[in-house]
């Protein structure tokens, strides 16, 4: 039904997919899983025609579709839903679905008569449970209802293959259950591929599972086999780390505190009532699966995202209304997810810019002592550096601000195991120097090996907090791992 042959996709220097091959049979339920940055969404985009593969081919029902524009692939029978709910906000719910239907029928250009809610539309709305909301403007739907609409729009097109990209992301409680059940109850004749971070759900849903890591397929098989595959377990939970069991450090004065923090994107609320504290000299880890709100939280703390409700206290001062540069001036620094190197600057300029006007322990010389690799690469454009080197630049930038608190967002993302250990070493060094760090991490074991305290986020709420040694297998299993 759907076949992918040795597909690779490169974005500049970054190889998102490296020779991925898979084949899905008609009516199959396939789950594609893997840690953050593994290439799952990229794979879907290549399949759907949103991206051209750098190498390799894609076949839909025996016909080659590699490189075809996405509208053509869609008309050939491939439907998809998007990670962020994506509809036509000013149109009514039924209009959204009706347009999808017309598009599939090739009748979008009809001029003769007004768009009408036809029986097919009604049927699909009932199937997803939106029948009562048919005459509501799409932007006014709840988060879960928007997901239902996404699915309705995909279903009304009667696709032969349906790609579901993280349909449960950001949903909780009853809504999550409802969508989950809906997906499980889809027509068995439809071929469905699912990308989901909720591993329990993905394994429940699938007949076969494909596991991606660093853009490659590292395992494929039935759910039970995958669940027990040691390689898979390792990439999710990690292995060979010693949990930090050092003596409880005497608590320094409070550096950061958030109260009742609510934040999100536009109308969508991601974080609710988050309360956390960081004391001086501590390394605090923020754990949680993808989409649970870690990056959103750090962005809100830095001021890159406005607070919807609640307050953030930094060094005793309420900073919730301050823009990022004011918080930076007070001593808050960020090592962002994805490193965010400045296009057009070289390493030296990145560092000098961060250091400008700063006085304190961390100077450019000092930083280059700690990261000798950067001294060698001073003149290189920062974007040309390897992932690990970029991470060093990002950390160095933050340190050069001589901050009171360093926020680190997924510093090990996309790094090789060796680099991951190096980052852990760096964090331990910082702790030894007396720095205070709030670290958001996917790599559970690494985080547990460096942190003094841990918070676990699920669906935008703090569901557990404590010391690393207190985090039992049960807790880790429940919130974080396979």
């Amino acid at each position: 039904m759907l076949r992918v042959e040795q597909v690779s996709k490169a974005f500049g220097g970054l190889l998102a997919l490296a020779g991925v091959s898979l084949e899905v049979t008609p009516g199959e339920r396939r789950a594609v899983i893997g840690p953050n940055g593994a290439g799952k969404s990229t794979l879907f985009k290549v399949m759907a025609g949103e991206l051209r593969p750098s190498q390799g081919r894609v076949f839909l029902q025996g016909r080659e579709v590699s490189g075809m524009p996405q509208e053509r692939v869609a008309r050939l029978g491939l439907g998809r839903t998007f990670q962020r709910s994506n509809a036509f906000p000013e149109l009514l719910v039924w209009e959204n679905v009706a347009l999808a239907q017309k598009a599939a029928q090739g009748q979008s250009a009809t001029l003769g008569q007004p768009l009408r809610p036809e029986p097919g539309v009604q049927r699909v709305l009932e199937q997803v449970g939106l029948a009562e909301r048919a005459h509501v403007v799409a932007s006014q739907l709840s988060h879960g209802e928007k997901r239902q609409l996404e699915i309705a729009m995909a279903l009304v097109q009667n696709p032969s293959v349906l790609l579901l990209d993280e349909p449960l992301a950001g949903l909780s409680g009853a809504e999550r259950e409802r969508i989950g059940e809906l997906i499980l109850g889809l027509d068995p004749q439809m071929t469905v591929l699912l990308v989901e971070h909720d591993l329990e759900y993905a394994l429940r849903f699938a007949q076969r599972v494909t596991v991606l890591h660093y853009g490659q397929v590292i395992a494929e098989g039935r759910p039970e086999a995958i669940r027990q595959n040691p390689q898979v377990q390792e990439i999710y939970v990690g292995a060979g780390w010693a949990v930090e069991t050092g003596a409880a450090t005497t608590q320094g004065p409070e550096v950061l505190r958030s109260e009742g923090l609510c934040a999100g994107y536009g109308a969508m609320q991601v974080l609710s009532e988050v309360r956390l504290e960081v004391a001086q000299g501590e390394v605090v880890a923020l754990l949680g699966r993808n989409g649970m709100g870690k990056t959103t939280l750090l962005s809100a703390l830095m001021g890159l995202l406005p607070l919807q409700e609640g307050e953030v206290f930094f060094l005793g001062q309420g900073v919730g209304r301050l823009p990022p540069h004011r918080r930076a001036a007070l001593g808050l620094a960020l090592v962002p997810q994805g490193r965010r190197m400045f296009d057009g600057l070289n390493v030296e300029e990145e560092l000098q810019m961060a250091a400008w006007g700063q006085r304190g322990r961390w100077t450019v010389e000092r930083v280059l002592e700690v990261f000798p690799r950067l001294a060698e690469r001073r003149r290189s454009p920062s974007r040309a550096l390897s992932g690990g080197e970029q991470q060093m630049v990002a950390i160095a930038r933050a340190l050069l601000r001589n901050p009171r608190l360093v926020l680190m967002d997924e510093p090990t993302e996309g790094l090789s195991p060796l680099m991951v250990r190096q980052v852990a070493e760096i964090i331990r060094t910082l702790k030894a120097e007396g720095e205070t760090v709030l670290l958001a991490e996917q790599n559970v074991q690494m985080a547990l090996s460096v942190a003094d305290r841990v918070y676990i986020l699920e669906h935008g709420q703090v569901v557990w907090e404590g010391r690393p040694q207190e985090a039992s297998q049960a807790v880790l299993h429940r919130y974080l791992g396979v």
């Binding site: 869609a74 009706a98 598009a103 979008s108």
Partner: protein, 316 residues
């Protein structure tokens, strides 16, 4: 036509909203009783209104920020002028005008719609100026700066006015009906979320292009009317200033509303006439109006009026 208006009144919102629209129609027809200069202005407003309605459709519903509409206006005008000069009957000339405009739209649209957003603005501006400079330089054909005069053809002002208003109302009615069809709704969807509608299988390029052709044709028709109305065409009408003027009319009316564009055209034409009776500084006037509208009445004056007086939601 009148029945169609009533249907719209019922469909489009509260009775008071409909009243406002009737009021607008009334304002368009009132000058018939006054004759002379007010009638001249009213016809001008109706014709420019057609072009403004077209731009409102293009911008507000298609999401295409075009700063080159003056080119279509001018092309329509010159086509009629030259066709009449060549001895063609009026009917044929009026048919040719929108076709020539649509042809230019096709040629430029192929390039324009490969880009988006701010680049569309720049490209349409550039193309518009290209047509202007062609009209300016090609003195053999267009008479250059001296312009083209349509002597020898006189249409009774009342007749011209009625036809202009009639065409305008028909266009508004027709376009509103169009917006309810799958085609129209798909255009809306393209404006609201192009990625999504493409992923549903719609080749958006052709939809945007066809909209561009339609609005160009309407604008060309308006231009041909203006040529007949003024009995004179000058390259200056194709200058960027005219495109900006149409923008102002659309903004005054609230970029989403077709009726709003009519209001904008009416308001602008009469205020401009009044202002130019005591000053030469037309650009100052347009510029200030533009800046003030964007800064303080971002939604446009017409939706504001509709809300205050009509109690409705204020849409097309």
């Amino acid at each position: 036509m009148m029945a169609g208006l009533s249907r719209e009144v019922r469909a489009g919102g509260t009775a008071r909203q409909g009243l406002l629209r009737w009021g607008l129609v009334g304002l368009l027809l009132l000058p018939l009783a006054l004759g002379g200069y007010p009638l001249y202005l009213a016809t001008e407003a109706a014709l420019l209104g057609l072009a403004a309605v077209a731009l409102s459709l293009l911008l507000g519903h298609g999401g295409v920020p075009s700063l080159g509409q003056a080119a279509f206006l001018g092309l329509g005008a010159y086509t009629v002028g030259l066709a009449l000069k060549a001895g063609l009957p009026l009917g044929l000339a009026l048919l040719l005008a929108p076709l020539v405009a649509a042809l230019l739209a096709l040629l430029t649209g192929l390039l324009v719609f490969r880009t988006h957003g701010i680049f569309i603005l720049m490209l349409t501006l550039a193309f518009g100026q290209m047509v202007y400079s062609a009209a300016h330089k090609w003195t053999g054909l267009t008479g250059g700066d001296d312009g083209l005069s349509l002597s020898g053809l006189s249409i009774h002002p009342v007749l011209l006015h009625l036809v202009a208003v009639g065409v305008l109302l028909a266009a508004v009615g027709g376009l509103r009906a169009l917006l309810q069809t799958p085609y129209g709704k798909t255009l809306e969807a393209i404006r609201q979320n192009e990625e999504k509608i493409r992923s549903l299988g719609v080749p958006t390029f052709y939809y945007k292009l066809s909209l561009y052709l339609l609005t160009a044709a309407l604008t060309g028709l308006a231009g041909s009317g203006l040529a007949l109305h003024r009995s004179f065409i000058s390259p200056h009408d194709l200058f960027w200033l005219t495109s900006a003027t149409l923008m102002v009319m659309v903004l005054l009316g609230g970029s989403r509303g077709l009726w709003g564009a009519v209001f904008g055209a009416l308001l602008y034409t009469f205020v401009q006439a009044w202002v130019s009776s005591f000053t030469d500084l037309w650009g100052l006037f347009v510029g200030s109006l533009l800046v003030l509208t964007v800064l303080f009445a971002r939604e446009g004056l017409w939706p504001l009026l509709e809300r205050r007086l009509g109690g409705g939601r204020g849409n097309a």
